[in-house]
Symmetry: C2
DNA sequence: GATAATATGTCAACAAACCTGACGTATATT
DNA sequence: AATATACGTCAGGTTTGTTGACATATTATC
């Protein structure tokens, strides 16, 4: 049933390597989000909600514009999802102390709880992969992904212990 | 403007590592698809079209069900996108030789050309990251991503040279 | 050879999550 | 006082996914 071997078209050895990388990202990302997606669907949420919950949890008191900068979506798109999360009590807004135009976002206890549940499957998946492959592979994984992303966001990943 | 340091909440050192991995995947994937997305938008296509074009190009004469198995979407979703690509002459169907129920898919010359253009930016991005990080890092990248994905698809990535 | 299973397609209705464009308000900056 | 920024919102549109039902051609099975 349904055969598809690794495929022809290997113009260069290099070409095959690059295509494998493209596919590794596709399959890994697809599976990486699968458990959380299922959990979200049960709660009437989507992946967009998870992203908002995740990054608000990661950066408590983040401003709306900083969040937009991470997500790279329009404020109208964010507004729909964020408004829902606020109305349902997962996130609260605080007026900025220094700049009162800002609406700083924070998870409520309810928000923290769902964040933990949602991200748990992903953490376990990563932890398992890290455990199976070892520290050297982890360093390679990190540095290649850093190389793939655009420079501006690379400095979010400082080398450790800088809180 | 807009400050968000790496963030608080480091319950464990380990926890921070796992969260960084989650974010590496998010940022890398977001940027990885950005150029192709822009090019697709200019042609009136979306990311779904790219995925179909990519995997048909990768596996010439793939059956519809095998493609569905890769993409993990419903046949109705695929049908819309695939039908469009067929009508516009990017993909052609052939009746299966052994099983005449199958519609085996193949890129036309036009399809091959757009595939090349679309994937080019991604290939360059990967190539650059691979060049910058070196072979050892690449091995780590590969093995961690393999560890992250669910086992069933791992054997798509055999070690090399098996066509 | 009738029956069941498989591979594919299609119609219809719906939802999630994006988008653009326009406009409004509060606050800060110059 | 004028301009810019941070945020919100209304309105309408697209892409990409979903479920459910049903149809057709072909293959496999009893």
């Amino acid at each position: 049933m349904t055969d598809h071997k690794p495929g022809p078209n290997p113009l260069f050895l290099r070409e095959e390597d690059l295509r494998q990388a493209i596919e590794l990202l596709f399959f890994a990302y697809r599976d990486f989000t699968s458990e959380a997606d299922a959990m979200l669907a049960r709660n009437g949420f989507g992946r967009a909600h998870h992203r908002v919950i995740y990054f608000v949890g990661r950066h408590p008191m983040i401003s709306v514009s900083a969040l937009l900068d991470i997500l790279r979506i329009t404020k109208q798109s964010l507004s729909r999802v964020l408004g829902q999360l606020i109305r349902e009590g997962f996130i609260i807004q605080h007026k900025g102390a220094t700049d009162r135009r800002q609406r700083l976002l924070e998870l409520t206890d309810k928000g923290l709880e769902i964040e933990r549940q949602l991200t748990e499957a992903q953490r376990q998946r990563i932890a398992r992969a890290y455990r199976e492959t070892g520290g050297e592979a982890v360093q390679g994984f990190r540095s290649v992904l850093l190389g793939i992303m655009d420079p501006p966001d690379r400095n979010r990943f400082s080398r450790r212990g800088d809180t």
